[in-house]
Every structure is written in C-alpha cells, then in structure tokens.
C-alpha cells in the first residue's frame, strides 16, 4: 500500500448525498479478478451516456457533459468533496480501487458509510470527516474558484485551504500510523500469532461447537 503523508491536490465537488457503491463502480465491473484497471469506469453511469461493459475503450464513449468529473477544470483532481453518507451500500472494495485508480487519494465528506470508510484505509486513500457546514463552504469555494486546490496534512490532521484557513480532522491513531507508513496490517496481526493460537486452544475447550470442521 502506498503511504500517505501530505497531499496538495486539485479538488472536485460531488454535491450529492448518499452516493452508493453501485454508483461509484457498477456491478458489471466487479467481475474482474484484479485490483487495478477500474478508474475508467468510476461513476460509469453518471459519466457516460451509454451502457459500460468491462474491457470497453472509454476514450471513445459518449460523455454526459453535465457530470462534474467530465468538466475540463476538474481533470487531474486527486481530492473528492462529497455529500453525507458517502460510500453507502455494498462492501465492494472495487469502490476504493476505482477511486484510487482514477487518481483520488483523499475524500472529504460530512459522513461515510462504515465499510467503505474502512476499505479506504486498506488502499492508501484518506477519508476525512468534516462537519457539514465546513464541507458546504469548501464546495462553494471550490465551485467558484477555478483550479481550487487543498493541502492535506495527515501528520498534523489538517485540511488547509488556499487562503491558509485550516480545518482539523479526527482519525484513529492506528489507522493514521498505518497510512503514514504504508503498513500491511496482516503482518502486524501475525506478530500476535501465539496469542491467536492460545485463544483458539482455550476457546476450543470451552465452546467446541465453534470449531466444527466444515471442510469435510
């Protein structure tokens, strides 16, 4: 996983509440067995006027010009400003994979759905929760200022606007640590292999029905 410390990026506002993972990456693209290559299909039904299928060459597809990601001024954005309950719906990690593959490293919203929020951290994407008023202000500034950029400072937990205004955000220490260092949490968990084994031994004696072998 790529580490995340600071980011200075172009911002795109997606001013909708309850953006679900079906909208972020429609189901037909979930048939891939890879982690990459989803970027061209991000928000497929909102970006393109035709029905997308896996493997299509998206450079020739008809665009929905009114969708923000298709606007020239937002090309190359790496920070997404979003509405409340972003990423609701399915657990598909294809949603953060698609956002990452498109180029987003940070999403700022008033709230996120739990599973999506969790999935972001596993992929080097920083989801930032700011209060609804702050997000509204950033959206308004972004819409009225071509080339609007934000600076994200994860160690200091700050979002910094072009005028120098700062917004503090909260994040779990452990998640912050893993993100800053790009750590693989499986390796961290396996440092406790002995404790897992000890737990299993104890639990198996006490509740053997939890260990009925289902592989037979």
């Amino acid at each position: 996983m790529e580490a995340f410390t600071t980011l200075d990026g172009l911002v795109v506002p997606l001013d909708r509440a309850n953006v679900d993972t079906d909208a972020i990456i429609p189901k037909q693209f979930l048939k891939s067995i890879k982690r990459t290559g989803y970027g061209p299909y991000l928000f497929d039904e909102w970006r393109y006027a035709d029905r997308g299928e896996p493997g299509m060459d998206c450079s020739k597809r008809p665009l929905r010009e009114d969708f923000v990601l298709n606007q020239e001024r937002y090309k190359g954005a790496s920070i997404l400003l979003a509405g409340e309950n972003f990423g609701c719906g399915s657990s598909r990690e294809h949603a953060p994979w698609a956002l990452l593959d498109y180029g987003f490293r940070c999403i700022i919203a008033p709230s996120f759905a739990d599973i999506f929020y969790n999935n972001c951290f596993k992929n080097g994407i920083l989801p930032i929760v700011l209060d609804a008023d702050a997000v509204r202000r950033l959206m308004d500034e972004c819409e009225s200022t071509p080339g609007y950029r934000l600076r994200i400072d994860l160690p200091e937990q700050l979002v910094i606007t072009p005028s120098g205004e700062t917004f503090h955000f909260e994040i779990d220490d452990f998640r912050k640590h893993c993100l800053i260092h790009g750590l693989d949490d499986i390796a961290l968990t396996l440092e406790h292999a002995d404790e897992i084994r000890a737990y299993e031994k104890e639990q198996r004696a006490r509740m053997p029905w939890l260990f009925i072998d289902v592989s037979g």
């Binding site: 891939s32 399915s90 657990s91 990690e93 509740m207 053997p208 592989s215």
Partner: protein, 497 residues
C-alpha cells in the same frame, strides 16, 4: 514501528470479562452484542481496537479473487481453512446452468473461486452442488452460522446471520485476505443501538416491511457506527426467515451488524442442521446460547421504540431504501422534505424513477417482478408469494416475473411442496438459485426505464440494470403486484382470496 504503537498491553479487562462470562456469571449488565464480542477478543490494542477472532468465514466469487491473490503473492496460507466455506452466487446463471456460464468474464470469476478453494483447501458448494445458493441463505440453512459466532463475508448483507444471535458483518476484500491469513480482524467496538418493535405482528406485515419501515424512520445512515439489536415482541414473533430479512437490511440502515437475541425459535431452527453440533455438544451449546440476550439493565448508546400497529406493508418509491411509503400512502411532496439536502435527493430520485410527487403508491404500474435475493428467497418467502399467486395469472402488462430460490435446497423443498407449479402456471419463471436480478451481475436484469417490484434490498440507481427502476417490497406484495400489474395492498388481497 515506534514502541508506543506496539500492542504490548497484558491481559485486559476484556479477558477477565470473558473468563467471567464463561463461568456463566455476569458481573455487569451487558448487551447481546457485548457478550458475543467479549467472547471473541483475542487481545486489546493500545488504541482501543481489538483483535477479534472470527469463527466463520463465508466466501463468494466476487470479493475473494484479489484476496487469494494477495495470499499467494505474500506466500501466506489460510490460518484455519476449516473455518471457511465458499459458494458462487453473484455471477451464476439461473437458467440452463448445465451449459455452463455463457459470459466469459463471469465464468473466469467462478472458475477462479473453484481453483482458489482447491489450492487453499477451502470447502466449496460449487455451481452444480445441490447445496449451492446465495451465501446468506446457505450459511444458516447448513448450520454454518450458529448463535454466538462471529461471522464475516466479503458482502455487506452478511448482517443477515445476526438473526441467529451472531455478530455477523460484511467486510472488504483486504479484510477477507486478513481473515484468511489470521482468522482475526482488527476492529474498534461499534456503539450499540437497540430498536424495539412492540405489539402483535399485523396481518400482511413481514420482516421485510418492518425493516423498510424502520429505515424510513431512522434513515440509511441512522445506524452508521452502530451494531443494531432488534428486539421486542413483534421481532420475537417473527420466524427465523423473517428475522433474517430484518437483519439483512440492517446494512441499509447503515449498521454493519443487525442481531436478534436467541430464543426457542432460534434453537428450534438450528437443531438438526448439517453442521450444527450434535448429542452432548448440542446440549452444551444450547445452555450457552440461552444466555445470548441483552441483560435487563444493559445500557445502549441509542434506543428506538416503534409500535407494530403503525406498520403497514411498505413500498419504496425512490433510489434509497429510506425513500419508502406504506402501500396505502403516496410519493411525498418535495415540500415535505426536512431540508435542502433531502429535497435535492428526492428531486433527483423522482426524476430517475419517472414519478410525480404525490402519486398514490397503488397507482404505480410495473413491468417486471423479481422474487429472490438474500433478503427474501427462503422457503417461507416463496410460500407467502405462492399463496397470493395460487389460481391467478401474471398481468398481461408484466413482461417478466422471476422467482429465484435462495439455494438448491430451498428450490428442492419448494418443488416438493408444489410451489414451482403454482408459480409456473401463473406465468412466473422458476429459476436456479443465485443473486440474480438483485444486482444483475448475471444475465437477469432490467432494461433502461423498466420498473420492477423486487423483493431485494437496494433500489439504488442502476442496481438492477442501467436505467432500471426498483421498488422494494415483501414477497407477498411482489406477487400481488405481478398479478395486478401495479402495487396493491396485500391485506385486501388476502381478504378477497
């Protein structure tokens, strides 16, 4: 890693509490969620997260290939392969299965699951196994999900299994890999919410209607950050199938887990299931399971109480499960929205759904009907739909009406009861088990502009096919809509029959 981040705390309060619980002595009032959680804490980390042991890992073809690939690349083996079981469900065809999967991309994914299960020693109910089906139907049906377990699957509707008094939650693919490799998850304990529904179960109202009603009240983010315990007489009057429909949709209320405490209905359901404990171990298990309820003095972070008399059969009208109305009601007016954000969402939804504000629900005509999904494809669901359909014909204006059983065994049972004939004689198509038109990853889908009465769980834009319009309902409501060609109040219908 700096030393302060290392997990060095010795045996914690969690471990002590687990020891007390195991002796059957409660020293403090705990919620159902607390009890199961505390039984599964391997260690507590310095930042307050825990290493949570996972008893059962259910695997399907869509969210697992990248996890297996991750294991392979890191040279890791599954920690306890006998805790996991796989079945393909999202991509499988529901017709002419003996010919294999026509879509080459879907085929690769299902074959990858077969191959990965063989390579890593994980049991699989393959596409042609009579036990194959939707993973959330198969788990409880086989006794793979037991009360008091921790259950995960790379699918948000894993919340379904909480109906048995388990902590069951959906995880992403990175966590699928983490559970395969370590049999644990790193988690912070969510907050606990109790939603009580009190009063006798009204006629024509199902677990699905209760779920939609609750989501309509608390919103799709109402349960975010919480585990929900559904409680109260109405909930405990539901069958296990009804409780599964309810817990299934906890995720649509934003909660990763929904749970119902263990009662006699739970124990009777689990008894005799293929992977349930037997003999002396069964007796021992039942004794432990009887403690799986919230203590009287348990404190919840948030509580809701609803009364069953308020609940009517529900129909969603928009593109989020919270956009729901009773069948006797109407699509709301934009002016009734609570704020500008909601008004904007409603406007967008009505535009997508091609509905006018104020339209009575019973005037909405449909093009297709889908009875199936992990929410509503169990035997009781099919029985309740068949009851409505018996002796009638699907309306001529309805282009297609599908019944997709949740598993091969549900299908067999339904056929033994003659339900398949009732559906087929009425003009429904009787299919093979899978997720099918709930998310339209296989060939079963809506065409742009088509309107569907669906027993599934999500009415998001494009969910059942690009441009498709989904109305979520119970199986009986979907069946009645198929016959009438538009939504009808199933309570009147039952009155006529």
């Amino acid at each position: 890693m700096p030393s302060e981040m290392r997990y060095t705390r010795p045996l914690s309060v969690h471990a002590f509490m687990r020891a007390y619980l195991c002796r059957g002595v409660n020293y403090m009032a705990l919620t159902l969620f607390d009890k199961v959680w505390l039984q599964h804490v391997v260690r507590e980390n310095d930042d307050g997260s825990v290493l949570l042991y996972i008893d059962r890992h259910l695997v399907h073809e869509v969210t697992s290939p990248q996890a297996f690939e991750g294991l392979r690349l890191a040279g890791r083996k599954p920690w306890r392969p006998s805790a996991a079981i796989a079945t393909p469900d999202h991509n499988v065809p529901t017709i002419e299965r003996e010919k294999g999967i026509a879509d080459p991309v879907s085929r690769v994914q299902v074959e990858a699951l077969d191959k990965n299960c063989r390579e890593f020693g994980i049991a699989e109910f393959g596409m042609h196994d009579p036990r194959q089906g939707i993973v959330h139907v198969v788990g409880p049906e086989q006794g793979l999900t037991l009360p008091g377990m921790t259950v995960v699957c790379g699918d948000s509707h894993t919340s379904t299994h909480g109906a048995l008094g388990a902590i069951a939650m959906g995880i992403g693919t990175s966590e699928v890999e983490h559970v395969l490799a370590t049999q644990c998850l790193i988690m912070k304990k969510p907050k606990c919410m109790r939603i009580r529904v009190e009063g006798p179960l009204p006629r024509g109202v199902t677990g699905k209607d209760i779920a939609l009603f609750i989501i309509g009240r608390i919103g799709t983010a109402g349960g975010t950050g919480h585990a929900i315990e559904f409680d109260g007489d109405t909930v405990h009057a539901l069958s296990m199938e009804g409780r599964m429909s309810l817990c299934n949709m906890a995720i649509e209320a934003g909660a990763r887990c929904g749970m119902v405490s263990v009662d006699q209905t739970t124990i009777d359901y689990v008894r005799g299931k293929p992977f349930a404990p037997k003999g002396e171990m069964w007796e021992q298990a039942v004794t432990a399971w009887r403690a799986l309820h919230s203590d009287d003095a348990a404190v919840f972070d948030r509580e809701w109480v609803f009364y069953s008399e308020e609940i009517e059969p529900q129909v969603t009208w928009g593109t989020s499960p919270e956009m729901v109305a009773p069948v006797t009601g109407r699509v709301p007016l934009i002016s009734e929205a609570r704020d500008a954000v909601q008004a904007d969402s409603w406007r967008r939804a009505l535009d997508y759904m091609a509905l006018k504000e104020g339209t009575p629900i019973r005037e909405i005509a449909i093009d297709k009907v889908f009875i199936g999904s992990c929410t509503n494809a169990r035997i009781e669901d099919l029985r309740s739909a068949a009851e409505i359909v018996r002796g009638h014909r699907v309306a001529s204006t309805v282009k297609q009406a599908l019944v997709v059983p949740g598993s091969g065994l549900v299908k067999q049972q339904a056929e033994q009861e003659g339900l398949d004939r009732i559906f087929v004689e009425a003009g429904f198509e009787w299919r093979d088990p899978g997720c099918s038109m709930c998310l339209a990853m296989n060939a079963d889908r809506l065409e742009p502009g088509e309107r569907c009465a669906s027993t599934s769980n999500r009415n998001f834009e494009g969910r059942q096919g690009m441009g498709g319009r989904t109305h979520l309902v119970s199986p009986a409501m979907a069946a009645a809509a198929a016959i009438a060609g538009h939504f009808v109040d199933v309570r009147d219908w039952q009155g006529e029959a």
